[in-house]
Symmetry: none
Subunit: 127 residues, 4 copies
C-alpha cells in the first residue's frame, strides 16, 4: 500500500502518484483495476481528499489511469508509463553522479547492494 512521508520535500500528491505507479509497475494493480475512491484513500492516509484528487488528476493526464464519471478511477493500459516515472529520475541522478566523477563501479556496487537488501526483504537499513 501507499505510505506518506510528510518529513521530506516530495509533495504528498507526488508520493501518491509514485505509490500507485509502483503498484502498477510491480503488477499488483493491473489494467482496468479500480483504484480506491479518492475520499476513501484520503481518509486512510489521513489527508485531504483534494490532495488525492490532485494525484489522480495528474495520473490521468499522464495516461496512467482513466476515470469514469460516477464510477471511479481505473488502471489504463500499461505501456511502461508507470515505470518511466522511476527510470527517468534514476537516469537523471545517474547522469549527475557520472558528471560529478563518481566511478561507474561505485554506481554498480550501490545497485547490487540495494537489490540484495530488497531481495533479503528489509527496507534498506544497511543489512
Amino acid at each position: 500500500m501507499i505510505t506518506i512521508d510528510i518529513t521530506g520535500r516530495v509533495p504528498m500528491y507526488e508520493q501518491i502518484c509514485r505509490g500507485i505507479c509502483g503498484e502498477i509497475a510491480k503488477g499488483v494493480l493491473k489494467e482496468n483495476d479500480r483504484l480506491p475512491a479518492a475520499r476513501v484513500l484520503a481518509k486512510e492516509l489521513g489527508i485531504n481528499p483534494n490532495t488525492v484528487a490532485k494525484a489522480y488528476g495528474i495520473l490521468e493526464r499522464d495516461g496512467i489511469i482513466y476515470s469514469i464519471a460516477g464510477r471511479g478511477c481505473f488502471v489504463a493500459k500499461h505501456e511502461g508509463k508507470a515505470d518511466k516515472r522511476f527510470t527517468e529520475e534514476f537516469e537523471e541522478k545517474t547522469r549527475e553522479a557520472v558528471k560529478a566523477g563518481v566511478p561507474k563501479d561505485t554506481l554498480i556496487e550501490i545497485i547490487e547492494r540495494v537489490c540484495a537488501e530488497a531481495a533479503a526483504g528489509n527496507g534498506g537499513n544497511g543489512q
Copy 2:
C-alpha cells in the same frame, strides 16, 4: 565551471552546491583551495549574491568547505562528503526504482548508456 539552469525545479543554491561538490569530487578543487568570493561568483552567474552565500552556508554546515572571516571560503579536508552528495541521491533513486519493481538489468543498462554518452561527449570522465 558551474552552470545554472534557471528553468528547472532545482533551486539555484542547490545547483551551486552540486557544482562545487562536483569540482571537489573530480579533484579540480583540492583541499584548502580558495573558492571564488560569493559576490564574484554571483556576478559571473548573473544571480543574487545572497543565493551564493546560502549555498556556501550549506556547504560549510555540511563540512565540505570552511570559511575564515574576512578571508573567504576554502575547501575542507576531503573525506568523501562531496561524493556522498551524489551517491546518496543516486542510492535513494535506486531504492525507489527497485521497490517499484524495475529490474536490476534495466538499471545497469541505464548506467552503461549514460557512461557511454559521457565518455563520448566530453573529455572522457565516464569511468
Copy 3:
C-alpha cells in the same frame, strides 16, 4: 451500430445521442423508423436503461425523434438537425483554431487526411 467508449470524457448519454444522429445523418435510420426500446439498447450496450432514456429525452427535446406513449421512439422528419449536431461542434472548433492563429491550410490538410483515412478504413463514406 452505436459503440460506447467508457474511457473518455464524453458522457455516455451524449455518445448515444451522437450515435443515433450519425445513423440518421447517414440515412441508415429514416423518418418514422422505430428506435430500439431503451431497455433493449441498454442491455446491448451493457449500460443502465436510465442513461439511454436520458439520451432519448434529449433527442426528443431537440426535435430529432418523437415518442408515442406505449409505442416507443421514432425518427422525426429529417430537417438537418441530426447533421447540425456535428457541423455546429465542428464549426465551433474551427472558430477556436482560427482565432488561435492556426492557418487555414493546416485545417484543410487535417480534413483531407481524415477523409482519406475514413475512405481507406471503411466502406468508403469519406466523401
Copy 4:
C-alpha cells in the same frame, strides 16, 4: 487578452490554458515572455487565484510554460505544443463529422466561412 465564459461546460482553468496557448500560437506571447502573476490575472478575471494556478500548473506539465521560483511563469520554447491544443480537438471533431457522414465539401465550406468572418474582423456572428 483572455476572456472567461462561465456559461459553457468548459472549465475556467481550461479556458485560461486555451487563451494563453492562443496568444503563443499567434505570436503575441513569445519565448521567455513573462505571464501575468497568477494573483494578478485572477483579480483581472474576477476569479480565485487557485484556478489560475491550476491552469499554469497544467501548462507547465505540458511543457508550454516554465516557472521560476519567486520570479513567475514564462513562455517555454515554442515547439508547436500550443497549436496542438487546437488542432487535436479540431481533428477529433472532423473525425466525428466525417464518421457521421457529413460531406467533405460541407466541412470545407465551414472553414472558408469562418476564415472569411475572421478576416473581416468580427467574432463570428454569421456576417
